[in-house]
Amino acid sequence: MDIRVTQAPLDPGAEANAFIARAAHAGAVATFTGLVRSMPNDSILSLTLECYPELAINQLTAIAAAAQSRFALADVTIIHRYGRMLPGEPIVQVMASAPHRQAAFDAAQLLMDHLKTDAPFWKQETTPAGTHWVEAKSADDDARARWQ
């Protein structure tokens, strides 16, 4: 298990290659990368994530351990950035290896659904109109609830 909370840039390709190299005997690897989104009709200049690192490590470790035991994962990695990021930059990467694809896919989805609501990060968007805190979405609570 590899849990990282960092202000450093993230290279998802290099991280995926290293994870896959360690998963040689697992059979299946799912990786998910979340990026800073900026759409033509909803444009964002930058995204700043605030973080409580000590709690984030505890929460991400608990989420990863739950996924590992539920889906019998061979390995799991969560890397979550904080600080200021630009559109297109990776914010978060989760990776899961398992004997078969379904467990790896489900684990990646469970990890993301849980860290939307349970990981102590707070997003602040800067748009052409100004800066505002992103509100928590009830759809994220619903997505998390389906794993209970």
């Binding site: 505890n58 860290l115 939307k116 609501t117 992103v134 509100e135």
Partner: protein, 83 residues
């Protein structure tokens, strides 16, 4: 006891952390939030929707009815928006 604040709660209170000496009758996190909210107008406004506020004791998520006894650091923050 040390208190940490994050995101819009930190902004509304105009501080990221503070040390407080608690009166003896402040036993739980809910008591602490009420006590903080009563200090001034900015705090009353910041804690207006206090059911929304999430809390941690010594970097573990806990509910508002958790006793403060023995804890060194309490963190108060809005709903999380990670991922």
């Amino acid at each position: 006891m040390k208190i940490l604040y994050f995101a819009w709660l930190r902004e509304r209170l105009n501080r990221g952390e503070e040390e407080v000496d608690l009166p003896a009758d402040i036993l739980t996190i809910a008591d602490l939030i009420s006590w903080l909210a009563d200090r001034d107008e900015a705090a009353a406004l910041a804690f207006e929707k206090r059911a929304l506020i999430k809390t941690a004791l010594d970097a573990r998520l806990v509910s508002h009815d958790t006793p403060l006894a023995g804890a060194k650091v309490v963190a108060l923050f809005p709903p999380m928006t990670g991922g």
